[in-house]
Amino acid sequence: MSPGEIWRRLAFLLGRSGKAAEMDEEIRLHVELREQRLRDEQGLAPEEAALAARRQFGSGMRVRENSRNVWGWGWLDDLLQDLRYAGRLIRANPVFSAVVVLTLALGIGPNTAIFSVMNTLVLRGLPVPEPDRLVFLRTSRQPDSTNNTGNYGSSFSYSVYEQLRGQGEAFSDLMAFVPLALNTAPVRYGDTPEEASASMVSGNFFSGLGVQPVCGRLLSLDDEQRRAPVVVLSHGYWTRRFGQDCGILGETLHVKGIPFTITGVAARGFIGVESARATDLWIPLQDRQDLNAWGLRREKTYIHSPEWWCLMMIGRLAPGVSEEAALGKLQPAYVNAAYAHLGQPKPGEEVPHLAFAATRGIPGLRDAYEQPLQLLLAMVGLVLVIACGNVALLLIARNTARQREFGVRLAVGGGRMRMLRQLLTESAVLVGAGTGLGWLFAMVATNALRAWSGLELSLAPDDRVLLFTLAVSVLTALIFGLAPLRGAVRVPLGIALKTSGATAHQDRQRTWGRKAVIGLEVALCLLLLVSAGLLVRTLHNLEQIPLGIRTEGLLVFGVSPQHLQSHAETVRFYESLSSRLRELPGIESVTLMENRIGSGWSSNTNVFVDGKNPQEDRRSMVRWNSVGPDYFRTLGTPLLYGRDIRDSDAREAPKVAVVNETFAKQYLAGTNPLDHNIALSGRANAPQFRIVGVAVDSKYTGVREEAAPMAYFSYKQMEHISAMHVELQTAGDPESFLPVVQRVVREFSPDLPLEQARTQQQEFSANLSQGRLIARLAFFLACSRWCWSRPAFTGRWPTW
């Protein structure tokens, strides 16, 4: 195309309407001249001449169209005309259009919402370059003489990390990370104490992942080596707390009472690599007791404890190295590293094997949610199919009524293709509106889901989801857009132009088709309802499971006091806090616990009864908790034998323990349980705890927990006291006590926030949130589908 031509085409585009008028005038002149010629030459009467002239000229419309199409903008005019026409039709039938648009929105919206949840939890990679090259390290087991904090199988010791990070062949970078607290850590900027999700990471964490800073700089290997007191904020935390002000660089943030300098802010969208909760800030790996891994107090820091497996690792595979190759290279080094400071493996001990886990989705949640989400996606897909079916029926009915219109259009010379195009445009407009509405619906739904489920991440749709939605809507448009067309276009002109005769002409085929679609929809709706009902039933059952705990009135919060130098000081702190809280009106009982029940955390170790393993053939495990006095009374768990933990079970007093029913049945069967000592280690000088009580089984980690042997120790008699959770039994609505409790805690230390303060009931419910989410959503979908489709089934849509 020559430049002149391009220019002329553009000029035509801009002056289209004027040119059309000119063309009309030219044609008019031509016809008049022809008319005149016929009159003059053949002596025809004026009317005859006029008729003959027009006949000779042919279809003026065709000529106009063909002339116009030369310029290449015909499609644009057609499209605009189609859109105008579609708009007119929609305005003329507002209810019908609204029904179609809503039906589509209800089909597409949930699809998008579910898919976007699935995307976040299961599919989406980390927002860094080449996320598929990143893998989490996993181990099949830990050496026998080690203990674990965190998820068993995901944690490693610092010495393992040190040895493996030097292996350049498998990984271009190996990073380690560990949270500073079991949940959130206390931080302070200025005067207000708050809680934030904080982690310690290796110096190459950000560089290995490929995260860029938005302000300042991120951590470096030098920072790690110097154990520098610097902190990097996440974009979300920086936005929430500091209003996106780059001026906070260089300011001091107190993390667990220790001053850190803010050195940078990570890129938007990066929320760390840990499951569910977004990380708010990162500091380099430290080597001090008050900043120990997971916030736990131990004899030594994790750096010097090769038997403490608490660090998590993520690595970036070296370019060109496959996962199998990397594992092959690392496995021998790993085994070496694992036993490096522990001595030789015992005879018959199984050697730990390294494995990789993908970093897609949210690890931890991914496994739990993947299948339910797939199920939901299938259900929602059904919903969409049903919606399409409904709309197709509606459109078919409508187009049948428009047969006359089509007949007339064809008769006056409108092309068949043109008409098809116009019908497709109508469908496209409706689908477009339905998709837009569905998208809005999805945004609202994902926000609600996020609040409901307690996940702190944005579940909002992203690019992949947008693409998915567009694909779905295009497919929908094609499916139900084309279906009615067949009927519309194969119209025998003669019949269509007659009036009521047209309606008598019903293909047997078409009626059968309609019935089939309706039948299918009914079946799908029923399927949906039944499966939703089953899900709800399961959930209901779960919610009815006895907990062994009376949760009414129970309020729980965490507190992490800083600057406590000794065991005695810590005990004094908690004792005075407990007694102060007990004094408050309305508080009936106060106790403490190291692991919050219902949160999923628990301590699990080997147990020895009277110095030996109670089971000959395998290891005996116990799930234990370090608790305060009046534990069982506060929680409302009855005791079968013996007594509760008391205030007098202090450091100097004889060491005691309370076990649960299952423990007594499994390990103490046939004997008086109160006659035995238990210990958590098999060493000769391990502290022995005398059993002083047996309690009814109660749920520890969560509602779905299976019965397990459990033991409870007095926190004052444990070697190390970590941050405890305070459980209050209140008279009345537990949440109403929050302000006064907060005031009391502030008295003790201005630095201390109430961490995750909520009712015990909420703690257990949060457990169920996954199931509840899905069941409720499914049920809502099923009901809405059913209600919405009923009229279509009974054929009682009003005919317009």
């Binding site: 020559s2 002149g4 031509e5 002329r8 085409r9 035509f12 000119e22 063309m23 005038e25 030219e26 044609i27 002149l29 031509h30 008049e32 001249l33 022809r34 000779q56 000229f57 042919g58 279809s59 065709r62 000529v63 063909n66 002339s67 116009r68 199409n69 030369v70 310029w71």
Partner: protein, 113 residues
């Protein structure tokens, strides 16, 4: 419909050439005049189908072979008059040359052996 000589279609691909050539005879013409001229000059053998005339004229406008200007007919009616451009003249020459080549080739084939 009486007193007409046998009329044939204009062979495909030659309409443009005929229109261009017509525009070299005399001054600017409007659409009707062009069709008329072709009819007369061909002794009423070639009748331009009106449905193809105007699209062809638009095409030639697009390609820049002709240009159109609005003027007045003898009866003082508004009409669009078309004229050849330089590019149009070149195009005409090319088309004429091609037509000569093709028709002589055909003539050679049809000559009695």
């Amino acid at each position: 419909m009486f007193g007409r000589t046998q009329r044939d279609e204009i062979p495909p691909g030659t309409l443009d050439m005929l229109i261009l050539k017509t525009l070299t005879q005399g001054g600017p013409m409007h659409g009707f005049e062009i069709a008329d001229s072709i009819l007369q000059t061909s002794d009423e053998v070639l009748q331009v189908e009106e449905g193809s005339l105007y699209p062809a004229l638009q095409r030639m406008l697009l390609k820049g072979w002709i240009k159109g200007e609005w003027g007045r007919t003898a009866e003082n009616r508004r009409a669009r008059y078309y004229q050849l451009t330089r590019a149009g003249r070149e195009q005409l020459e090319q088309e004429l040359a091609r037509y000569q080549r093709v028709s002589s080739a055909i003539a050679r084939i049809l000559q009695p052996a």
